[in-house]
Symmetry: C2
Subunit: 346 residues, 2 copies
Amino acid sequence: MPDPSQFIKASAAQSPFFVGVDLGGTNVKIGVVDDRGRTLSWLTEPTESEKGPESGAQRMGEAVLRAIADAGLSPSDVARVGLGSPGTMDVPAGMLIRPHNLPGWFNFPIRDRVSHYCGLGVTFTNDANAAANGEFWIGAGSAMHSMVMLTLGTGIGCGIIIGDFSIEGENSHGAECGHIIIDIAKDARMCGCGQRGHLEAYCSAPHVVNRIELALASGRESSLSPRMADGEELTPELLAEEAAKGDALAREIIFDTARYLGIGAVTLLHTIDPSGIVLGGGMTFGRDQSELGREFMEEFRAEVRRRAFPVIAERVMIDYASLGGDAGYIGAAGIARFQWLRSQHG
Amino acid sequence: MPDPSQFIKASAAQSPFFVGVDLGGTNVKIGVVDDRGRTLSWLTEPTESEKGPESGAQRMGEAVLRAIADAGLSPSDVARVGLGSPGTMDVPAGMLIRPHNLPGWFNFPIRDRVSHYCGLGVTFTNDANAAANGEFWIGAGSAMHSMVMLTLGTGIGCGIIIGDFSIEGENSHGAECGHIIIDIAKDARMCGCGQRGHLEAYCSAPHVVNRIELALASGRESSLSPRMADGEELTPELLAEEAAKGDALAREIIFDTARYLGIGAVTLLHTIDPSGIVLGGGMTFGRDQSELGREFMEEFRAEVRRRAFPVIAERVMIDYASLGGDAGYIGAAGIARFQWLRSQHG
C-alpha cells in the first residue's frame, strides 16, 4: 500500500495523468498517477474471474473511471491507461491466451475490451514486466540504467529493462526467468511447467515448502515438526518464523534458496549485465524489515559476488523492491506513459 | 571467406561505405562493405601482438586505408569504421582492458588510436557482438527481428540483438553467455574462468576434448585410441572424423555437446525470446555441409524443442551461421553503420 505521504492532490500533481491496472487472479488494483509516478488515488476490486472476461473487462473499465473521479480528475485529463496481466498472452495483439490464474479467460482481446469500457487508450503488458517498470520508474531501480527484477511468489516473475526498453520477446515470453535451467541433472527438481531444473523449481514458495517437506520426510529434526503436528500448515511464513527463532533446518532451506537464486541471478548478470538486480515478492523472509530478510539478502549478494565476473560482482547494485504491491499498477501506468511519450515524438 | 560472386565493384555498390576490422589474437581481417553489407575488398594482416598495441593500432589504421584503396575508393567515401575486438574491454570508453588473446594490450585506448592512424571515426565493439551483427545484417539472421548467436570455439562467444539494439551491458559484459550456469552440482565442470558449471565448461573445444579424455581414461573403448597411440593430437576435428565413421564414444560426446548447448539455449530463449538462434564457430562437427553437422544440428534443435515453452519451441528459428570468418568484419562495419545512421537522424 503506498505511503499516504506519497499521495498528492491533483492540484499539486504534474500532468499528464496515467492509470495503471494490475490484474491478478483474486484482485484488481487500479491507481491514478501523475507524470512523475506519484499516486493520486487507488482502489481494489475483486477479480471474480468466474464471471468471465467480458464482465471482468467491463468492471475494470468502470473502475478506471471511478479511480479517475476519486483523484479529482476527468477522463480527458488521462493520457493513457496501462494494463498488466498474468500470461500466457500475446502482448502486441492485446490478447490473453491462456492465463493460469484466470481460468476461462482464454483467447480474449482484453486490451481492446477494457479500452472500450473506459473510453481511453490502453497499453497491455505482462504483470512481472509492469512491476519491474514500477520499481525502475520510482522504486528500488530508480537510480539504475538497466535492471533485472526477480519476484518470488507462487512462481518466479521476472522483468528485464535496459534503458528505455523492456524485453517482452517475440512471442511475449521474454524474461520468463523462473524457467532458466540451473540444473542439468537427470533427477533435477521438476518445475510446475513440467520441465526439470528450472530456477522456479528451487526458489518459488511451493517449491521451498516442498524442499523442507522432503527434508523432514528424510528424518531431519526441526522445530517445525511440533507445529505441523499441531495442525499448522507448512508455509514460507511458518518457515521464516522458525528460522528467525534459530531452527537450523529452516535456516538451511532459506539460505539455500538465497544461493539458488544467486546462481540464477549470475546467469542473468552474464547475459544482460544490468546496473542492478531487484528482488521482490511476498515470501516473508524476502524483506529487509526483518533480521532474517537482511540475512537472506546478504547470502544472495554473497553468492552473486562469489560467482559473477569480478567487474560485475564489484559494481552491480542488489536491493529489495520498495513499492510492494503497488509496483504493478505504477509500472503499468509507466509503460502506458512510455508508449504515450513515443507517440508524441513521432 | 566471402563467395567471390558476392564481391561488387565500387561502381555497382551503394554508398555510403563502411570498413569493418575484426581483431583477433593471430590475425586482423579488414573489409570494406557498402550500405547493404556487400564486400568490395578485404585483406588480412598478422596481429603480431608482441609488437604492442600502439604498433598494432598503427598497422590496423594503415591497413584500413589500404583496404579502402583496394576497393577503388578514397577515405572520404567511407562514413565510418567499426572495430571488433576480444575482451575484456570498456566499450563506451573505447578501451581494451585485459584481453586474453592480446597479451600486454592492457588499458589501451584502441578505438581512438586506430581512428588517429586512419583519420576516420571508429565505433568499438566486442568481437562476438560484431559477428552476431554480421549474421543479423546479411547472414543467417537476416530474416530475424531478434537473434541470439552462439559461437563455439576456444570459448563460447555470444551476441544478442533485439531489433536495432545489441546487448552490450553496463560493464561491457553483456551476452557473455559462455558463462551462464547450467549445473549447480558442487563437482560441476570447472570453466576456464575459474567458476564451475558454466555452459562453456561443457561445450567449448578444449572442454569437449577434455570430456573425451576423461571418458577414455575411464576405460571407454573408441577408435580414437589407436590414432592417439600413433601420436595424433586429440582435437575436435579428430573427434568428428571418428564420429563420422561411426565411433560410438565420439558420437556420444558430440551429441551430448549438442544437448548441453540446447540446455543453454533454452535458458536464453526463456530470457530473451528471440526470433532465432544462430550457431557459429569453428568446431568441425558444427557445420551443415557434413552429415555429422546436420545430425549435430538436429540433436540441438530436438533438445531445444523438448525443453522450451511450446510457443517458442514451435516458432524459434535455429540455423548455422552463414558468413563464416567474414561475420566479424561485416558486423563491425554494420555496427559502425548503425552508429552513423543514428548520428544522421539526430
